[in-house]
């Protein structure tokens, strides 16, 4: 072999090898590679020896053999930050009034932004606790005057039942007369204990439509009769000193239109703060209706009505359908509904 002309390893792989290897390994590994190349030449043609050599070079690409990729600009973060801080403090001392104005402006701005954020977040929480929240709507009525129009929450009393009966889109509906709507506050008592309340009248399906939890009583069974009453946990505490074992007990209601004794059929947890409806005592809607016979007509409006639509009902389509509902029931009734 020593007589043969010496053959050299291929140029490009060799240059590549010199480039990627850690400098301290180059002499050793390049020598090893050359020795291997000479060995290859014994058994292989020059061409395939070069190919095998190149392959071997590629197989040298290992994490602990290749040189580190170096970045020239290493940033000195701590010193830089310290320097910037110093500059900031010097500027504060030099331009005191500007500093104060900026400081006040920024703090006020940030405070306002955070307050607005908290407020919006709070608003978004309203009524979210209802499990059917995305299907829950209130029916509103738009009164058309000669000039202009006004939208109000009062709708005819027969509407709720009619919606459930006639519109398959409506899963359930309920009438609500909010506290203080018609009557001044009144007194309910249990023996010597008494409390001043503003009652709310609701239809049968109140606990079907809304998700106010009942502490005592069955939501399927309550609000079936006119002589029952449901009280909140805090009213129960005031009258009885407890929220337990109150079902079937009587309370006395001193009321101008329908005074008398009422049976407790349920106790509900106080409505949460983020609920639109706030109430402490519930009576049956029919009780209310008894005192205002004229409300049974379609032409008169008083209660608020809330509906739960079936899943998948397109609300814009349904608006078209519910809009002229009252004018179909009463002649010459120009007012429209919306949800």
């Amino acid at each position: 072999m020593s007589n043969q002309p010496k053959r050299l390893p291929p140029k490009w792989p060799l240059a590549f090898l010199r480039w990627f290897l850690k400098p301290e390994f180059i002499e050793e590994i390049e020598g090893d590679m050359e020795e291997i190349f000479q060995d290859l030449l014994i058994d292989h043609s020059a061409r395939s020896a070069r190919l095998l050599y190149s392959w071997e070079v590629l197989r040298l690409l290992r994490p602990n053999l290749i040189r580190h990729i170096q970045f020239n600009h290493r940033l000195n973060f701590t010193d830089m930050a310290r320097h910037n801080l110093l500059i900031i403090l010097r500027n504060f001392l030099r331009y005191k009034s500007t500093f104060i104005i900026n400081l006040i402006g920024l703090t006020t701005g940030l405070t306002c932004a955070f307050m607005a954020l908290l407020w919006v977040q709070d608003e978004l929480e309203i009524d979210r606790f209802h499990t059917q929240d995305d299907q829950l709507y209130q029916v509103l009525q738009t009164i058309h005057f000669d000039k202009g129009k006004e939208t109000i929450t009062s709708v005819p009393a027969p509407l709720s039942d009619a919606l459930v009966a006639e519109h398959p889109e409506v899963k359930s509906a309920v009438e609500v007369i909010p506290p203080g709507w018609m009557y001044e506050s009144s007194i309910i008592r249990n023996g010597k204990e008494s409390v001043r309340i503003e009652e709310q009248y609701v239809g049968e399906d109140f606990f079907e439509v809304f998700s106010f939890p009942l502490i005592a009583g069955d939501k399927e069974q309550v609000l079936k009769t006119k002589n029952e009453v449901l009280i909140s946990a805090s009213i129960a505490q005031k009258l009885f000193g407890t929220t337990k074992n109150l079902l079937g007990k009587d309370i006395l209601w001193e009321h101008e239109d329908h005074p008398g004794s009422y049976v407790i059929s349920g106790v509900f947890a106080d409505p949460p703060k983020n609920s639109t409806l706030q109430f402490e005592v519930l009576f049956h809607f029919d009780l209310f209706l008894e005192s205002f016979d004229f409300l049974k007509e379609w032409g008169n409006s008083e209660p608020n009505v809330f509906v739960v639509l079936e899943k998948g009902v397109d609300i814009t389509d349904y608006q078209q359908k519910i809009g002229p509902l009252i004018s179909q029931k009463v002649e010459d009734y120009p007012h429209t509904l919306m949800v």
Partner: protein, 112 residues
């Protein structure tokens, strides 16, 4: 064998280095191991194992003679440290212990 961290291939290379003594440089280690394992190895795998073990303190190295076959580049001769010998003994003892604990029915097959 707590925290000795010697891989299987590293162990083979280390043993080869000890066997080859003065001749323990890259290409020779490769040749020796290839003939024993009856398998071809890349320079990269040998070199990276050598460098790793040098970092771990199992090997030391110094430049040896240059030969014309190497294009005038010097060899790097590796030798094992005391630590390497200790770790190898440890591994051997653990393996021997395991073999000794083999159930009899398996012992009849004999070690591989």
């Amino acid at each position: 064998m707590k925290k000795t961290k010697l891989g299987e291939f590293e162990e083979l290379v280390l043993l080869t280095v000890i066997v080859l003594q003065e001749e323990a440089y890259g290409v020779e280690i490769k040749r020796e191991l290839e003939s024993r394992l009856k398998n071809s190895l890349s320079v990269g795998s040998i070199q990276s194992a050598l460098k790793r073990m040098e970092d771990k303190g199992y090997l030391t190295s110094e430049f040896g003679a240059a030969t014309p076959k190497r294009g005038g580049k010097r060899k790097k001769i590796y030798s094992a440290t005391q630590e390497a010998h200790r770790v190898l003994e440890e591994i051997k003892a653990i393996r021997a212990g395991l073999w000794a604990s083999f159930p009899n029915s398996f012992l009849n097959l004999g070690p591989i």
